[in-house]
């Protein structure tokens, strides 16, 4: 149901607002926010360097187009494949926890950037320049299909034993292992799924932008936006990251067009307030999938002066 709505909204986008670059970027950010959702929402690992996978997808697809002259669909597949390979190489990082993991992925993404920026076979200095493979309309249609497929995959994951295992691991890895869950493999699969989403997003971005320098694909703000969009909408839900992206990225575009002087300030404060006052995201306001709404938690907190009625999800 929500899936159909999302697709309907995206599909009617051009009728409402015919800036296909904006709409395609929006779809790309939805993919990225969902990728963050898979790895952060479902496993609790914050991939601060998620942009590394995006960059890997961009360069995987672009280099394939440049050297092997592959078609657009093959490029998307190869972009995803490149990101998955990067994910496999980086999978030892999953041994780390908390901020160590977040910072290590960040370091990995930037190390990848310096490799791409330094090498001539990646056109690091001269910049990438791709032929036009899809018309903007076709590319947007492909992006919408990619979003729809992603949402289906996420729905399947959420309701499958795999999804249950991920939630179990997030809750308590030791206990989940005792229930027979292969913690390492399950986490790695989520990590690779998330990498693949970023790879697809990267390939789409590469074909949309077609002329770019290495600093753009590996710009950390892309990670941050994907994370903030996902959190704002609400992770661990399917609709949350979509909503978060649509609302915040539209706002971002609106602000960019209306030129306020204090853009960065407003965005920074918004993030601060979001973390402090709406940690569960938009969907938590109204009770997402089985979660109590935020206001109800607040009521509970008020009622239990000594904290014996702690709101759920706050086990240490």
């Amino acid at each position: 149901m929500p899936l159909a709505l999302v697709v309907a909204v995206l599909a009617s986008g051009p009728a409402l607002y015919n800036n296909l670059a904006f709409l395609t970027t929006l779809a790309i950010y939805i993919l990225l926010a969902q990728g963050v959702n898979v790895v952060y929402g479902f496993t609790g690992y914050l991939p601060f360097g998620y942009v590394g996978f995006f960059g890997a997808g961009i360069y995987g697809s672009s280099l394939a187009i440049t050297y092997w002259h592959v078609g657009g669909y093959a490029a998307i597949g190869l972009g995803a494949a490149t990101s998955i390979i990067a994910g496999l190489i980086l999978s030892p990082l999953l041994r780390l926890s908390g901020a160590y993991f977040a910072l290590a992925t960040l370091a990995a993404s930037q190390a990848l950037y310096f490799i791409v920026a330094n090498e001539s076979w990646t056109f690091g200095e001269s910049g990438m320049s791709l032929p036009l493979l899809f018309s903007p309309t076709a590319l947007y249609a492909i992006s919408v299909v990619a979003v729809a497929l992603t949402l289906i995959v996420i729905l399947l994951v959420r309701d499958s034993h795999f999804g249950l295992s991920l939630r179990a691991i997030r809750s308590d890895p030791v206990s989940a292992a005792m229930a027979g869950v292969n913690v390492v493999r399950t986490r790695t699969l989520a990590w690779l799924l998330s990498a693949a989403l970023a790879g697809v997003a990267g390939a789409l971005w590469a074909m949309m932008t077609s002329a770019f320098y290495a600093e753009t694909p590996f710009d950390l703000t892309i990670s941050v936006y994907a994370i903030v969009f996902a959190l704002f909408g609400g992770v661990r839900t399917v609709i949350g990251p979509v909503l978060g992206t649509i609302v915040l990225y539209s706002l971002y575009q609106y602000i960019g067009i209306s030129n306020p002087q204090y853009f960065e300030l407003i965005y920074g404060l918004l993030i601060v307030l979001l973390v402090l006052f709406l940690p569960g995201g938009l969907t938590s306001l109204v009770g997402g999938r089985g979660d109590r709404p935020a206001w109800w938690n607040w009521v509970l907190r008020r009622r239990s002066a000594h904290g014996d009625l702690t709101p759920e999800g706050r086990s240490s």
Binding site: L93, R95, L103, A111, E264, Y267, I271, L276
Partner: protein
């Protein structure tokens, strides 16, 4: 050979300065698991303070250090009260703090842009170059290293020679145990937060020299470098932070000398190698693996 010698000496001097940069972050991250992504921006603001002083009052930029400390203590207190108690209620303080402080860093950058514009600003050099073994090193470089040593020593004294420091170490080791044995977590956390910010701001004027000038976006890279250093040097270990800084400084100056194109990758590569091979850092025993 002369180049190698120069790279070694300037690497050590730079490294001590980077140790200074890491100290404040070590307190915040080591004690409270707060991932202060605004650390570099605080350093930059310390640098801007020095810039304002030299351009308006024409005094030695190093005067900014004593002036910035009380300001940073106050700012630290306010920031603590406004954010940390709420943040610590979150199910995943570490991750939430990372995002929160990213927001703070954006705000600090925006404020810096509004006040100082986007142009690079620099400080007047402190004096004539200093000759060491017949080669010349910038006065500011030598001064930075010279100031970093007492700063690291102060950090050591705080942790190991004061009651608050003892309590701080107890919290670092095990927060629950520390609480159970009567440590006042709030006091420890508040002071660690304030002192951490004061160290960051105090390093600002030096950073302005060491980085060839600052602009509102300088902070981001500095934050990553600082994290690299404290993770290399192990959390909560002042000598480790100094050693982490020196290791980073040496790696950076040796790549400048012999693999110039790859200098940008040094902090990231070092961080990756250290967290994968020895997540507890080179000088610590605490293991943090999932």
């Amino acid at each position: 050979m002369r180049l190698f010698e120069y790279a070694l000496i300037s690497g050590v001097l730079y490294g001590l300065f980077y140790g200074f940069i890491g100290v404040g972050l070590n307190l915040l991250f080591g004690v409270m698991r707060l991932v202060n992504l605004a650390h570099g921006d605080l350093v930059v603001w310390g640098g801007y303070l020095a810039y304002s002083l030299t351009t308006s009052a024409h005094v030695n930029p190093l005067w900014a250090i004593p002036i910035s400390i009380p300001l940073a203590l106050v700012a630290g207190f306010l920031l603590y009260v406004l954010t940390v108690p709420r943040l610590r209620r979150s199910p995943d303080t570490e991750t939430s703090s990372l995002i929160l402080f990213f927001g703070v860093s954006q705000v600090l950058e925006a404020l810096a842009t509004m006040k100082y514009g986007t142009n690079q600003v620099t400080l007047p050099e402190l004096g004539n170059p200093v000759t060491i073994f017949g080669q010349q090193y910038a006065a500011s470089l030598v001064a930075s290293a010279a100031l970093a040593v007492p700063a690291l020593a102060l950090f050591y004294l705080y942790l190991y020679r004061t009651r608050l420091g003892l309590a701080t170490r107890a919290v670092m080791a095990n927060e629950e145990e520390a609480t159970a044995s009567g440590v006042r977590i709030r006091l420890v956390a508040t002071s660690a937060f304030m002192i951490g910010l004061a160290f960051a701001a105090a390093a600002g004027p030096l950073a302005t020299f060491m980085l060839g000038g600052i602009n509102p976006t300088t902070g981001g890279g500095l934050t990553i470098t600082a994290f690299t250093i404290i993770i290399i040097g192990s959390l909560g270990n002042p000598a480790g932070t100094a050693a982490g800084g020196v290791l980073y400084g040496l790696a950076s100056s040796l790549t400048q000398a012999y693999a110039t194109a790859w200098t940008g990758m040094v902090p990231y590569a070092l961080l990756l190698v250290v967290v994968l091979v020895r997540p507890s850092g080179l000088f610590g025993r605490r293991v943090r693996v999932a």
